[in-house]
């Protein structure tokens, strides 16, 4: 490793962390304004243009708040937990390429890019779990336990969804996954890019990944670990001042990282939907058009990436403003009984495509869908009338219910 390599590596890390940390206030502002808009409120609009400086004011406020340590907390682990929740979030994005320039992105173009992301996101459970335990508070503990159970359950579905991208590209390397999607759409439309989401396996895998990513980041409708109506604020009940802010930052950075993975693996990464390279080639001759072509060639891919990132983040907000929180048994049933079997069948049919081509694969999909509807029928939404108050409490086992 020469000195120049070292310098480039530092530059890559600085750019990624700089982007993640500088975009954080914008993301928080966007969340508050968009939620307000969905709920017919105004939201923070006083400080700066459109209220953009509000997150800065909040950060200053959090800095100067008094920090209260619970009397019977395990102090060392209590202080360690916010750091443990921030660290995996900050490093998880290291293998995501956000542009075609290999000197500036990704931080490490390693052979195991997708596995690295899964490893780092699986470490994220510790921060929440330990925060809940060390606070010595029943609401915190329940929040921590719920969160870890949820993260473990949905990690499997997430792995299966990511495996479709890995299998389609034939590599764990994220840059290879993006390059695979740069081919002509379905092999026939050379002016369009073959994003994985446009294929049947990619569509199902992407949908599964989207659900799992909401659950992994503890966002609505899977935000049981911090359900205000039941658990005060869940695992972060006892935290104040900058430790609370660290949890908040970790959560939002993890959301950005996981949106980046979704963008890379299913939405074509930094690629535009339309293949501009023939038009770009026209400008290679030089002059004004040449300058324009070089500029757009260098600037547009990152902008596409950031655009997709924010589009996904906005869909997070849309879902948060629209859907109700799931019950715990519904959450577990969705994860284990629906997402994992669908992911397995999808993966099996993708291997059919890889081995035998797209005709048997499409027939396989048709057969799978037909079998599903033959076995389960068209399921109507379950309607139940709650006759007794005791039936409305979901956490008691059947035998314990009265009446």
């Amino acid at each position: 490793m020469t000195l120049a390599d070292f310098g480039w590596a530092i530059a890559r890390i600085a750019i990624m962390l700089g982007f993640l940390l500088s975009v954080l206030p914008v993301v928080i502002w966007l969340e508050r304004r968009a939620l307000a808009w969905f709920q017919n409120r105004i939201g923070p609009n006083r400080l700066g243009p459109f209220g953009l400086l509000q997150p800065m004011a909040d950060a200053v406020k959090l800095f100067f708040k008094e920090e209260i340590v619970p009397a019977n907390a395990d102090r060392f682990i209590w202080a360690l937990a916010p750091a443990l929740s921030l660290f995996p979030a900050l490093v998880a994005a290291a293998t995501i390429p956000w542009g075609p320039n290999r000197l500036l992105t990704p931080v490490a173009d390693v052979d195991i890019g997708v596995l690295y992301f899964l490893a780092m996101s699986s470490l994220a459970a510790y921060g929440v779990l330990l925060a809940g335990w060390s606070s010595n508070n029943k609401y915190s503990l329940l929040g921590g336990l719920r969160s870890s159970a949820q993260v473990i359950s949905y990690e499997l579905g997430m792995g299966l969804a990511l495996a479709t991208a890995v299998l389609a590209a034939g590599s764990f390397r994220m840059t290879t996954i993006v390059e695979m999607q740069a081919q002509p759409l379905w092999g026939v439309a050379p002016f369009l890019h073959n994003w994985l989401i446009f294929t049947p396996w990619g569509l199902i895998g992407g949908a599964l990944f989207f659900v799992c990513m909401l659950a992994e980041t503890n966002r609505a409708p899977f935000d049981l670990p911090e359900a205000e109506s039941e658990l005060v604020a869940g695992y972060q009940t006892e935290y104040s001042s900058m430790k609370f802010a660290a949890f908040f930052m970790g959560e939002y950075i993890a959301i950005l990282a996981i949106c980046g993975v979704m963008t890379t693996c299913f939405l074509g990464g930094y690629l535009a939907p339309i293949n501009w390279s023939p038009i770009q080639a026209l400008g290679e001759g030089g002059g004004m058009w040449g300058v324009l072509a070089t500029l757009t060639g260098a600037l547009m891919p990152p902008l596409w990436f950031i655009g997709k990132l924010f589009g996904l983040f906005f869909s997070f907000l849309w879902i948060r403003a629209t859907l109700l929180r799931l019950r715990y048994d519904q959450l577990m049933n969705l994860g284990w009984r629906f997402l994992i079997p669908v992911g397995l069948v999808n993966l099996a049919l993708l291997t059919v495509y890889v081995v035998a081509g797209w005709v048997p694969a499409l027939i396989g999909y048709a057969v799978a869908i037909a079998v599903y509807f033959l076995v389960f029928g068209v399921r109507r939404p379950e309607r139940r009338t709650v006759a007794l108050l005791s039936e409305a409490q979901p956490y008691r086992p059947k035998e314990a219910q009265s009446g």
């Binding site: 395990d74 052979d111 699986s122 779990l129 990690e155 764990f172």
Partner: protein, 166 residues
Amino acid sequence: MVERILFFALATVAIVSAGGVVFSRNPVRSALLLVLNFFTLALIYFMLSAQFIGALQVIVYAGAIMVLFLFVIMLLNLGSPEAVMQERDLKRPLAYLIGFGILATLVGQAFALLLPMPPQPPSQAGTAKVIGQALFTQWAYPVLLMGVLLTVGVIGSILLARRRVS
């Protein structure tokens, strides 16, 4: 040179944390130190260009198994381990035997490294491709048998945990 310094730093952290797992009185701290140990081991795997094994080490051991361990420890809320220490049966001598046996083997291996050896070519053994090819060609039947074993384990645990329907 840099690699050697990194290795010794990581190895020190790994050994100290492994010692902490055994000597810590608090089960939660023991479990946390074990996570740290697994993580540093994964970093050592990365340094030995066994990236795939390192990533799996973090995903499986540090990420999944230890979270379950912590989960159980927190749910049971084990206090001090005094109660466990007092029971006298075959477990303790057996544990000493196995532990010191493994230690002796490892120390023997370490001394064997002092003997002069031909320089090893840098291996590609740790990448996903090489491991996948080995597993699904040379070791295909053992892999299938492991799959059957794991399935049996899953079915067994579901049977044990199943709620009795009266």
